[in-house]
Symmetry: C2
Subunit: 500 residues, 2 copies
């Protein structure tokens, strides 16, 4: 067999195991009977490890070495070279951590997640502290093993967003800070605030589900290659080619979380439904990066879903679904209510203007931890100070502060920036789509989101992992990452909404 | 590690893969989006094969050899000996077929299943004929490789019902034939026939589902360790410890198929929910045999579910679920209608008196094929003749005759007898339970099926695969397999129903 065919064959086996594991995860979070969860966790652990072991085996490494030889490389197509590049990078990264350390970290973080759940409930940072300390220590050890040029933090960031560095992040963060801190102040001081009480009421689960399904169809989600189910913490999961499932959560008192949540997950799902099927079961059949993934969900949820254009088409359907609630609420009032800006303590409740500040807080703290400039014991104080600086508010308890996210207890230092990058990518990509698609806003107003989806399919989704995120952005938009697109987008939109 | 612990560890890995495969099957038949089925079939094939390969690997064989040495055996408990016995038997059986033949058979039967679907639709036996011929040829080849004492058919039977032979089957079939052929004739000629038109109507899916759930709870199915979902061809599947799922199908015009279908699947599921958890992930954590499995579903569906006692408790709930249909229908009329006897062409529609004849037809034909006494081309004629002989009716087309079942096109020669054995085991086991449990009928009449379930748990379910079916039956009932229990049960019950 040709070497490249060997790679494909190995990789299709890895994919099948990953497919099985993904289904086991989906089922665990949706339909599993309660008593079945314990055995499922064991079985899932086994199947996931099996997939991982195949991808880091000596044999696989030997195959990759051969594929990286110049003579072999010369006979490969561009796609095949990308396959080798991606697989080799993942292999080297995984192999740079000794199995013993890998195991120690995984035992530690699964314990620490359980401790966190309790610590948050009991508002006790001190009970989590020793775990976080060990997580930081091991993360620093791993950063040394992964290697980096300038900043140990970069070694972790690389695991979530290839090619990203703290230096590059700081460059895009600076203008956000200097423009948005005064902008939010202006909104709060001088803006005319929407009435959000109109969004409260009683909304049957059935009607919410129907509406979410309609919105998902409208934004191009293919129900013949996916499903919508209910869960506690909504997620999207690719279970295999043509099987990408979204989940949502229904709250009876408010339907906007399920609607915009579904659209958000739908954005993720459309990305995966649009991956290049011809490359299925290869290392480059997948999302480019977490940040690019998030750009697709954020674009659909915020730039499209919460736009005047989308709502002018879709709001009548909302009124029809909940006539007694919205019969006498105007489109304008509804539009302004779902775009309310309010500095909040909790990241996942944040609006699109203030969201990035939550990420800056976390990024700056985790980077300082990694560089040894901050001790874990100093985290709560540093957290509160940064919240005060960026958002003007401070949590009264750690539960609403440093204890709110599972990421650090899960050992995912370096993950947070991908949320912010998602926002920035989304605005930059959307700006280019708008240039390329004549009358995009007018189309959306008429209910045609598919013109945008087609553009995304071609320029983002169909690329899979052929490019690194930096290159993908450059090829798709013609520009380097630039926060001015996002700034222009939010300042224009919210100046109008707040009459400032 | 001790050898026996090695076996357990190997086997738990096999179980985890089987768990993954079972979930993939369940999802494929319930919730998978249509476009996802193709990739799922590939992934499922890979995961199942992986589990199979582990269980037939040289290393596993070497481990079993060591475990079978006398010195090792002496240190084992009875359960551990049973584990070694079951694993060794399965290993030897699988290894007696060369991988090449195994592969050829699996390719052939998956093709043949597709051909059968079409052949049945088009009523064209001739298009299936060459496939069946090859299946019979390969099955005969495999029988020689498996080995047998007297009859090549026994080698196949062994794969579904350990220790069963054609000779033993014939011994239990003889009295069934001699008693039941005249009994059915008497019913048809002299019996007072129930009015089954009362079962027809319009029954909402929602109400049917509610009723099925209630019946399942009532017979002891644990919804915290299982689920009820909808599918096209109902089945029960164990996805892991404490996760045994049932499925059903709702027909709007009639609710009894979903009700009794759910109770049937519930019988299977309660068996698996009652397997000995302390033996989880070992070779003896599983059902004893297909026949014993079927005995549990048949007992719940027919002996319990269609009994006067069960219905005197449950019929009021049926009336409540469908008041306009059953308000003025008496319990007696309902009881007689759901126990209607009518020779039918289609096995899966047969009542409990005539069902076994369908199996005899198939058993005698497949045995003759295996011995070379019958050619595939002669099947349709032979089928019709036997139907005439045992049931007094003959299909007008092969679609309602020899083409009705998927088993032969799937290569499952030797499977059918387990259905009949299920009926016989059920009657014999129930007779013993009735002796052991004071006032069993009275209890059921009061809604207490759990006394029976407890007895089954202890005497059947908790045994797992420690014994072969023959021994299980002997230990549980004190007797060898004997068709007189079944005969007494049906003749008593139906003499009363038909006033003969």
């Amino acid at each position: 067999m040709e070497l490249i065919d060997q790679l494909k064959s190995e990789y299709s086996e890895i994919s099948y195991l990953q497919n099985a594991a993904a289904l086991m995860v989906w089922d665990l979070r949706t339909y599993i009977p309660p008593k079945g969860a314990e055995n499922r966790a064991e079985a899932l652990g086994y199947v996931s490890t099996l997939a991982f072991k195949k991808a880091v085996s000596d044999e696989f490494g030997a195959l990759l070495s051969q594929l990286n030889e110049r003579a072999t490389q010369e006979g490969l197509t561009d796609d095949e070279k990308a396959m080798v590049r991606v697989a080799t990078k993942a292999y080297k990264r995984a192999r740079s951590i000794p199995p013993e350390l890998h195991h120690r970290f995984s035992v530690l973080t699964s314990k620490s997640e359980r401790v966190w759940e309790r610590a948050r409930k009991e508002n006790s940072f001190s009970s989590l502290e020793p775990y976080l300390e060990e997580i930081v220590d091991l993360s620093r050890e791993m950063a040394e093993l992964y290697g980096y040029e300038e900043n140990p933090y970069d070694a972790l960031l690389e695991g979530y967003e290839e090619g990203m560095t703290a230096r590059k992040l700081r460059k895009v963060i600076e203008p956000l800070k200097s423009e948005l801190i005064p902008f939010v102040k202006k909104i709060l001081d001088k803006g005319t605030h929407p009435d959000t009480s109109i969004l409260q009421g009683m909304f049957s689960k059935r009607a919410q589900e129907k509406l979410s399904r309609r919105a998902l169809k409208f934004i191009g989600y293919d129900f013949d290659a996916g499903r919508l189910d209910e869960t506690v913490h909504p997620f999207t999961i690719g279970i295999g080619v043509n099987d990408v499932r979204v989940t949502t959560k229904y709250v009876i008192e408010e339907f906007t979380p399920s609607l915009f949540g579904s659209i958000h997950e739908g954005g993720h799902a459309i990305y995966e439904q649009g991956l290049p099927i011809s490359l299925k079961d290869t290392p480059i059949y997948g999302a480019c990066s977490l940040g690019i993934h998030e750009s697709q969900s954020r674009m659909m949820e915020n730039i499209v879903g919460r736009s005047k254009e989308f709502l002018s088409f879709f709001y009548p359907q909302i009124q029809k679904a909940f006539p007694s609630n919205f019969r006498s609420v105007s489109l304008g009032d509804f539009y302004r209510a779902v775009n309310n800006v309010k500095p909040s303590l909790i990241r996942i409740e944040a609006d699109e203007v203030t969201y990035n500040f939550h990420i800056m807080v976390r990024f700056e703290l985790e980077e300082a931890l990694m560089k040894g400039d901050l001790k874990v014991s100093e985290l709560p104080g540093a957290w509160n100070a940064k919240m005060r600086e960026y958002l003007g508010i401070e949590p009264e308890s750690n539960r609403d502060g440093v204890l709110q996210d599972i990421h650090w207890p899960s050992g995912m230092i370096g993950y947070f920036p991908s949320y912010m990058l998602g926002n920035l990518y989304a605005a930059q990509i959307y700006a280019k789509a708008r240039q390329d698609i004549p009358n995009l806003e007018k189309r959306i107003e008429k209910g045609d989101v598919l013109a945008l989806v087609d553009w995304l399919r071609k320029n983002i989704h169909a690329v899979g992992r052929k490019h690194e995120p930096e290159r993908l952005l450059k090829v798709a938009t013609g520009k380097e990452l630039d926060s001015s697109y996002f700034l222009k987008y939010v300042i224009d939109k919210y100046s109008e909404i707040y009459f400032i």
